[in-house]
Protein backbone atom coordinates (compact mmCIF):
# COMPACT_ATOMS: atom_id res chain seq x y z
CA UNK A 1 0.00 0.00 0.00
CA UNK A 2 2.83 2.44 0.80
CA UNK A 3 4.20 1.98 -2.74
CA UNK A 4 0.91 3.40 -4.03
CA UNK A 5 1.00 6.31 -1.61
CA UNK A 6 4.63 7.09 -2.50
CA UNK A 7 3.77 7.04 -6.21
CA UNK A 8 0.81 9.23 -5.41
CA UNK A 9 3.01 11.71 -3.54
CA UNK A 10 5.51 11.78 -6.39
CA UNK A 11 2.77 12.43 -8.94
CA UNK A 12 1.11 15.13 -6.89
CA UNK A 13 4.47 16.76 -6.04
CA UNK A 14 5.44 16.77 -9.74
CA UNK A 15 1.93 17.99 -10.53
CA UNK A 16 2.23 20.86 -8.07
CA UNK A 17 5.82 21.57 -9.09
CA UNK A 18 4.58 22.05 -12.64
CA UNK A 19 2.05 24.41 -11.13
CA UNK A 20 4.55 27.14 -10.46
CA UNK A 21 5.20 29.36 -13.49
CA UNK A 22 8.93 29.35 -12.92
CA UNK A 23 9.17 25.53 -12.94
CA UNK A 24 7.00 25.47 -16.04
CA UNK A 25 9.28 27.97 -17.77
CA UNK A 26 12.44 25.98 -17.08
CA UNK A 27 10.84 22.66 -18.08
CA UNK A 28 9.38 24.13 -21.25
CA UNK A 29 12.87 25.33 -22.24
CA UNK A 30 13.65 21.72 -23.16
CA UNK A 31 10.22 20.48 -24.21
CA UNK A 32 9.31 23.21 -26.73
CA UNK A 33 12.05 22.45 -29.32
CA UNK A 34 11.31 18.71 -28.94
CA UNK A 35 7.65 19.30 -29.83
CA UNK A 36 8.67 21.55 -32.73
CA UNK A 37 11.06 18.96 -34.14
CA UNK A 38 8.51 16.15 -33.77
CA UNK A 39 5.90 18.22 -35.53
CA UNK A 40 8.20 18.94 -38.47
CA UNK A 41 9.35 15.33 -38.86
CA UNK A 42 5.91 13.74 -38.56
CA UNK A 43 3.98 16.17 -40.72
CA UNK A 44 6.61 16.19 -43.50
CA UNK A 45 6.56 12.39 -43.67
CA UNK A 46 2.78 12.40 -43.46
CA UNK A 47 2.30 14.97 -46.23
CA UNK A 48 4.81 13.18 -48.47
CA UNK A 49 2.82 9.95 -48.12
CA UNK A 50 -0.49 11.76 -48.43
CA UNK A 51 0.33 13.70 -51.59
CA UNK A 52 2.65 11.41 -53.44
CA UNK A 53 2.31 7.83 -52.31
CA UNK A 54 -1.37 7.29 -51.44
CA UNK A 55 -3.32 6.02 -54.51
CA UNK A 56 -6.19 8.07 -55.93
CA UNK A 57 -9.58 7.13 -54.49
CA UNK A 58 -11.72 5.17 -57.01
CA UNK A 59 -14.81 7.24 -56.27
CA UNK A 60 -13.57 10.74 -55.44
CA UNK A 61 -10.34 10.81 -57.45
CA UNK A 62 -7.64 13.00 -55.89
CA UNK A 63 -9.98 15.35 -54.05
CA UNK A 64 -10.01 13.01 -51.05
CA UNK A 65 -6.41 14.11 -50.28
CA UNK A 66 -7.98 17.03 -48.40
CA UNK A 67 -8.92 14.36 -45.85
CA UNK A 68 -5.34 14.29 -44.60
CA UNK A 69 -5.70 17.94 -43.56
CA UNK A 70 -9.40 18.06 -42.65
CA UNK A 71 -9.56 15.09 -40.27
CA UNK A 72 -6.51 15.99 -38.13
CA UNK A 73 -7.71 19.59 -37.63
CA UNK A 74 -11.28 18.46 -36.92
CA UNK A 75 -10.01 15.91 -34.39
CA UNK A 76 -7.62 18.44 -32.90
CA UNK A 77 -10.33 21.11 -32.47
CA UNK A 78 -12.25 18.74 -30.20
CA UNK A 79 -9.10 17.51 -28.44
CA UNK A 80 -8.00 21.12 -27.69
CA UNK A 81 -11.45 21.91 -26.26
CA UNK A 82 -11.23 18.93 -23.91
CA UNK A 83 -7.66 19.86 -22.88
CA UNK A 84 -8.82 23.45 -22.28
CA UNK A 85 -11.79 22.30 -20.19
CA UNK A 86 -9.66 19.87 -18.13
CA UNK A 87 -7.04 22.57 -17.50
CA UNK A 88 -9.84 24.95 -16.51
CA UNK A 89 -11.35 22.34 -14.15
CA UNK A 90 -7.94 21.65 -12.57
CA UNK A 91 -7.35 25.40 -12.25
CA UNK A 92 -10.72 25.90 -10.52
CA UNK A 93 -10.32 22.96 -8.13
CA UNK A 94 -6.65 23.54 -7.16
CA UNK A 95 -6.45 27.30 -7.84
CA UNK A 96 -3.40 26.69 -10.00
CA UNK A 97 -2.25 29.69 -12.06
CA UNK A 98 -0.52 27.57 -14.68
CA UNK A 99 -3.68 25.56 -15.41
CA UNK A 100 -5.53 28.80 -16.28
CA UNK A 101 -2.61 29.94 -18.46
CA UNK A 102 -2.73 26.65 -20.41
CA UNK A 103 -6.52 26.95 -20.81
CA UNK A 104 -6.38 30.53 -22.08
CA UNK A 105 -3.49 29.94 -24.45
CA UNK A 106 -5.12 26.89 -26.05
CA UNK A 107 -8.42 28.72 -26.79
CA UNK A 108 -7.15 30.73 -29.80
CA UNK A 109 -5.28 27.68 -31.16
CA UNK A 110 -8.48 25.65 -30.89
CA UNK A 111 -10.46 28.35 -32.67
CA UNK A 112 -7.85 28.44 -35.44
CA UNK A 113 -7.99 24.67 -35.94
CA UNK A 114 -11.81 24.69 -35.89
CA UNK A 115 -12.00 27.33 -38.62
CA UNK A 116 -9.32 25.36 -40.51
CA UNK A 117 -11.47 22.22 -40.25
CA UNK A 118 -14.50 24.21 -41.49
CA UNK A 119 -12.61 25.66 -44.45
CA UNK A 120 -11.06 22.37 -45.54
CA UNK A 121 -14.37 20.55 -44.92
CA UNK A 122 -16.35 22.85 -47.19
CA UNK A 123 -13.51 22.75 -49.78
CA UNK A 124 -13.67 18.97 -49.71
CA UNK A 125 -17.45 18.87 -49.96
CA UNK A 126 -17.69 21.50 -52.72
CA UNK A 127 -16.89 19.26 -55.73
CA UNK A 128 -19.23 16.53 -54.41
CA UNK A 129 -22.21 18.60 -53.23
CA UNK A 130 -21.77 21.42 -55.70
CA UNK A 131 -22.24 24.03 -52.91
CA UNK A 132 -19.69 25.55 -50.59
CA UNK A 133 -21.77 24.93 -47.43
CA UNK A 134 -23.79 21.84 -46.71
CA UNK A 135 -25.72 21.31 -43.42
CA UNK A 136 -23.81 18.12 -42.80
CA UNK A 137 -23.66 16.81 -39.23
CA UNK A 138 -19.91 17.15 -38.73
CA UNK A 139 -19.56 20.54 -40.38
CA UNK A 140 -22.44 21.93 -38.29
CA UNK A 141 -21.02 20.66 -35.01
CA UNK A 142 -17.65 22.15 -36.04
CA UNK A 143 -19.41 25.48 -36.60
CA UNK A 144 -21.04 25.34 -33.14
CA UNK A 145 -17.66 24.41 -31.61
CA UNK A 146 -16.24 27.55 -33.26
CA UNK A 147 -18.95 29.66 -31.58
CA UNK A 148 -18.12 28.00 -28.25
CA UNK A 149 -14.47 28.99 -28.68
CA UNK A 150 -15.44 32.59 -29.56
CA UNK A 151 -17.73 32.67 -26.51
CA UNK A 152 -14.91 31.53 -24.20
CA UNK A 153 -12.45 34.05 -25.63
CA UNK A 154 -15.00 36.89 -25.63
CA UNK A 155 -15.75 36.21 -21.96
CA UNK A 156 -12.04 36.21 -21.08
CA UNK A 157 -11.35 39.54 -22.77
CA UNK A 158 -14.49 41.15 -21.29
CA UNK A 159 -13.07 41.41 -17.76
CA UNK A 160 -10.43 43.96 -16.79
CA UNK A 161 -9.21 42.08 -13.69
CA UNK A 162 -7.15 39.13 -15.02
CA UNK A 163 -7.85 36.86 -12.04
CA UNK A 164 -11.64 37.11 -12.41
CA UNK A 165 -11.37 36.72 -16.17
CA UNK A 166 -9.44 33.47 -15.81
CA UNK A 167 -11.90 31.93 -13.41
CA UNK A 168 -15.02 33.07 -15.30
CA UNK A 169 -13.61 31.64 -18.55
CA UNK A 170 -12.77 28.40 -16.71
CA UNK A 171 -16.36 28.00 -15.50
CA UNK A 172 -17.69 28.56 -19.04
CA UNK A 173 -15.17 26.06 -20.49
CA UNK A 174 -16.22 23.40 -17.97
CA UNK A 175 -19.94 24.04 -18.63
CA UNK A 176 -19.25 23.94 -22.38
CA UNK A 177 -17.47 20.61 -22.23
CA UNK A 178 -20.52 19.04 -20.57
CA UNK A 179 -22.77 20.32 -23.36
CA UNK A 180 -20.46 19.49 -26.34
CA UNK A 181 -21.45 15.78 -26.47
CA UNK A 182 -25.14 16.79 -26.26
CA UNK A 183 -24.66 19.26 -29.12
CA UNK A 184 -22.88 16.61 -31.18
CA UNK A 185 -25.64 14.13 -30.46
CA UNK A 186 -28.49 16.50 -31.32
CA UNK A 187 -26.80 17.67 -34.54
CA UNK A 188 -26.24 14.04 -35.62
CA UNK A 189 -29.96 13.35 -35.11
CA UNK A 190 -30.95 16.62 -36.74
CA UNK A 191 -28.87 16.10 -39.89
CA UNK A 192 -30.08 12.51 -40.29
CA UNK A 193 -33.59 14.03 -40.29
CA UNK A 194 -32.80 16.10 -43.40
CA UNK A 195 -30.77 13.74 -45.62
CA UNK A 196 -29.29 10.29 -45.54
CA UNK A 197 -25.80 9.44 -44.35
CA UNK A 198 -23.29 11.80 -45.99
CA UNK A 199 -21.32 10.81 -49.05
CA UNK A 200 -17.87 10.26 -47.52
CA UNK A 201 -17.43 8.16 -44.46
CA UNK A 202 -13.92 8.97 -43.27
CA UNK A 203 -12.07 7.84 -40.15
CA UNK A 204 -12.36 4.40 -38.56
CA UNK A 205 -10.97 1.09 -39.84
CA UNK A 206 -12.92 1.30 -43.12
CA UNK A 207 -9.92 3.02 -44.68
CA UNK A 208 -7.22 1.00 -46.43
CA UNK A 209 -3.82 1.07 -44.63
CA UNK A 210 -2.25 3.15 -47.42
CA UNK A 211 -4.65 5.95 -46.43
CA UNK A 212 -4.61 5.30 -42.68
CA UNK A 213 -0.86 5.60 -42.05
CA UNK A 214 -0.45 9.11 -43.50
CA UNK A 215 -3.56 10.17 -41.61
CA UNK A 216 -2.05 9.00 -38.31
CA UNK A 217 1.25 10.74 -39.11
CA UNK A 218 -0.55 13.98 -39.89
CA UNK A 219 -2.77 13.73 -36.79
CA UNK A 220 0.26 13.16 -34.51
CA UNK A 221 2.19 15.91 -36.27
CA UNK A 222 -0.65 18.40 -35.75
CA UNK A 223 -0.98 17.39 -32.09
CA UNK A 224 2.71 18.10 -31.50
CA UNK A 225 2.24 21.38 -33.34
CA UNK A 226 -0.51 22.24 -30.89
CA UNK A 227 1.82 21.33 -28.00
CA UNK A 228 4.57 23.46 -29.51
CA UNK A 229 2.42 26.56 -30.02
CA UNK A 230 0.72 26.07 -26.64
CA UNK A 231 4.12 26.07 -24.91
CA UNK A 232 5.25 29.14 -26.87
CA UNK A 233 2.12 31.10 -25.98
CA UNK A 234 2.15 29.86 -22.38
CA UNK A 235 5.77 31.02 -22.00
CA UNK A 236 4.79 34.44 -23.39
CA UNK A 237 1.92 34.70 -20.94
CA UNK A 238 4.07 33.55 -18.02
CA UNK A 239 6.68 36.18 -18.89
CA UNK A 240 4.14 38.97 -19.14
CA UNK A 241 2.26 37.88 -15.99
CA UNK A 242 5.39 37.55 -13.89
CA UNK A 243 7.18 40.56 -15.33
CA UNK A 244 7.61 42.03 -11.83
CA UNK A 245 9.06 38.87 -10.31
CA UNK A 246 12.77 38.52 -9.71
CA UNK A 247 13.32 35.40 -11.77
CA UNK A 248 12.01 37.11 -14.92
CA UNK A 249 14.25 40.09 -14.25
CA UNK A 250 17.23 37.81 -13.69
CA UNK A 251 16.37 35.92 -16.85
CA UNK A 252 16.29 39.08 -18.97
CA UNK A 253 19.01 40.92 -17.04
CA UNK A 254 22.11 39.90 -19.11
CA UNK A 255 20.36 41.11 -22.22
CA UNK A 256 20.27 44.73 -21.01
CA UNK A 257 24.03 45.03 -21.73
CA UNK A 258 23.20 45.62 -25.36
CA UNK A 259 19.69 47.13 -25.03
CA UNK A 260 18.05 47.23 -28.43
CA UNK A 261 15.18 49.53 -29.17
CA UNK A 262 16.10 52.08 -26.48
CA UNK A 263 15.91 55.64 -27.86
CA UNK A 264 19.44 56.98 -28.36
CA UNK A 265 18.81 59.99 -25.99
CA UNK A 266 18.56 57.69 -22.94
CA UNK A 267 21.68 55.84 -24.10
CA UNK A 268 23.79 58.99 -24.23
CA UNK A 269 22.36 60.23 -20.93
CA UNK A 270 23.35 56.90 -19.38
CA UNK A 271 26.83 56.85 -20.86
CA UNK A 272 27.26 60.58 -20.07
CA UNK A 273 26.43 59.86 -16.40
CA UNK A 274 28.95 57.00 -16.30
CA UNK A 275 31.59 59.21 -17.83
CA UNK A 276 31.24 61.82 -15.07
CA UNK A 277 31.27 59.32 -12.12
Amino acid sequence: MNILSSIWKAVSRGFHRLGSPREFYTISNYLTPVFGALFLVLSLIGSYYALFVAPADYQQGDSYRILFVHVPSAWLSLFIYVVMASAAAIGLVWRMKMAFVVAICSAPIGAAFTSLALATGSLWGAPIWGTWWEWDARLTSELILLFLYFGVMALYYAFEERRTAERAMAVLAVVGVVIVPIIHFSVEWWSSLHQGATVFREGGPAMPPSMLTPLIYMALGFTFFYGYILFLRARNMVLSNERKSKWVRALLQPQTLQPQGLPSKILQAESGKEGTQ
Binding site: S47, R65, S115, Q255, T256, P259, I266
Partner: protein, 63 residues
Protein backbone atom coordinates in the same frame (compact mmCIF):
# COMPACT_ATOMS: atom_id res chain seq x y z
CA UNK B 1 6.66 11.27 -62.23
CA UNK B 2 5.62 14.26 -64.36
CA UNK B 3 4.96 17.25 -62.21
CA UNK B 4 2.27 18.84 -64.37
CA UNK B 5 0.00 15.78 -63.97
CA UNK B 6 0.71 15.74 -60.22
CA UNK B 7 -0.28 19.38 -59.80
CA UNK B 8 -3.40 18.76 -61.91
CA UNK B 9 -4.58 16.39 -59.13
CA UNK B 10 -7.09 14.64 -61.35
CA UNK B 11 -9.06 17.83 -62.00
CA UNK B 12 -9.40 18.84 -58.33
CA UNK B 13 -6.20 20.90 -58.29
CA UNK B 14 -7.97 24.04 -57.07
CA UNK B 15 -9.68 22.40 -54.09
CA UNK B 16 -6.75 20.27 -52.91
CA UNK B 17 -4.13 22.98 -53.15
CA UNK B 18 -6.27 25.70 -51.58
CA UNK B 19 -7.06 23.32 -48.70
CA UNK B 20 -3.38 22.52 -48.14
CA UNK B 21 -2.45 26.16 -48.71
CA UNK B 22 -4.90 27.38 -46.06
CA UNK B 23 -3.57 24.79 -43.60
CA UNK B 24 0.05 25.81 -44.20
CA UNK B 25 -0.91 29.48 -43.91
CA UNK B 26 -2.79 28.91 -40.64
CA UNK B 27 0.10 26.97 -39.09
CA UNK B 28 2.65 29.62 -40.11
CA UNK B 29 0.41 32.41 -38.88
CA UNK B 30 0.03 30.72 -35.45
CA UNK B 31 3.79 30.21 -35.27
CA UNK B 32 4.69 33.75 -36.34
CA UNK B 33 2.16 35.33 -34.01
CA UNK B 34 3.60 33.38 -31.09
CA UNK B 35 7.17 34.36 -31.98
CA UNK B 36 6.32 38.04 -32.60
CA UNK B 37 4.45 38.44 -29.33
CA UNK B 38 7.37 36.71 -27.56
CA UNK B 39 9.80 39.27 -28.95
CA UNK B 40 7.41 42.12 -28.15
CA UNK B 41 6.97 41.02 -24.51
CA UNK B 42 10.70 40.54 -24.00
CA UNK B 43 11.58 43.96 -25.39
CA UNK B 44 8.81 45.51 -23.25
CA UNK B 45 10.25 43.96 -20.09
CA UNK B 46 13.81 44.90 -21.02
CA UNK B 47 12.75 48.50 -21.66
CA UNK B 48 10.91 48.51 -18.33
CA UNK B 49 14.01 47.22 -16.52
CA UNK B 50 16.17 49.85 -18.20
CA UNK B 51 13.66 52.59 -17.37
CA UNK B 52 13.53 51.53 -13.71
CA UNK B 53 17.33 51.40 -13.62
CA UNK B 54 17.44 55.02 -14.84
CA UNK B 55 14.73 56.05 -12.36
CA UNK B 56 16.57 54.45 -9.46
CA UNK B 57 19.77 56.22 -10.59
CA UNK B 58 17.96 59.58 -10.63
CA UNK B 59 16.61 58.93 -7.13
CA UNK B 60 20.11 57.87 -6.01
CA UNK B 61 21.55 61.12 -7.48
CA UNK B 62 18.80 63.32 -6.02
CA UNK B 63 18.91 62.23 -2.36
Amino acid sequence: MNWSEFFYMGGYAFYVWTAWGITAFALCWLFLQAKLSNAKIKSEIIRQIAREAILSENNADSN
